[in-house]
Amino acid sequence: MNGAEFLYDELVVKIEQPDDGPFDFNDLPGGPIHPPLAGETLYEEVIDE
């Protein structure tokens, strides 16, 4: 090697966006998720005796 040799580089930074975009609660089958309304039961456990 004759004389000093140098190099320089590039490391390119990229962001991969989520494939299907942000999750949208309003797009759920059966309509949007919402807090339970007054008098509404979230779920019931039925015991068949």
């Binding site: 090697m1 000093a4 040799e5 140098f6 190099l7 320089y8 580089d9 590039e10 490391l11 390119v12 930074v13 990229k14 962001i15 991969e16 989520p18 975009g21 942000p22 999750f23």
Partner: protein, 166 residues
């Protein structure tokens, strides 16, 4: 409303320069400027090392709910050329504990990390992540140059950061 997510090259434990879709340059000096000053000198003897580079996720605008599974990866092929390596590790406290150095960090080959087996960037600072600011772990990287390297400008490589947003 989707979050606005950036990748910052860190200048301190919780401060950095936006490098999203930008370039990180491994240099013989500790700064974030992408220029041709402080080029890496090919050694006549033992391998030399660039100053380390820390990168981290930054949420400029937070997600609706949260962001998880922070990660980054390469294409799995080092095309920087003969005698050039890039190694990494994930120090817990980033620059606050690990100032940038130009001595061997004895890390893992960055090009072993692919989309199928990426660097986990929320193993220490675990998710789910919400709100704004710096999130997840710091990746610390360093280029090694052996005496077999050729002079000139290297072909760029890409480091891709990915996440899952809700």
């Amino acid at each position: 409303m989707a979050a606005t997510v950036q990748i910052h090259e860190m200048t301190a434990a919780a401060a950095g320069v936006d490098k999203t879709s930008g370039t990180i340059r491994f240099k013989g000096a500790d700064n974030q400027t992408v220029d041709t000053v402080d080029r890496l000198q090919i050694p006549t003897g033992a391998t030399i090392f660039s100053y380390t580079k820390h990168a981290r996720f930054y949420f400029q605008a937070g997600p609706s709910v949260d962001i998880q599974n922070l990660r980054c990866y390469t294409d799995g092929s080092n095309t920087f050329g003969t005698g050039i390596t890039v190694q990494y590790n994930v120090p817990a406290a980033g620059l606050g504990t690990f100032p940038n150095i130009n001595t061997d960090i004895a890390g893992t080959d960055l090009f072993t990390k692919t989309s199928g087996a990426p660097v986990d960037l929320d193993a220490i600072n675990t998710g789910p992540h919400s709100g704004t600011g710096y999130k997840g772990d710091h990746i610390r990287m360093q280029m090694g140059v052996a005496n077999t390297a050729a002079p000139g400008q290297l072909t760029p490589e890409t480091l891709t950061f990915a996440y899952d947003e809700t």
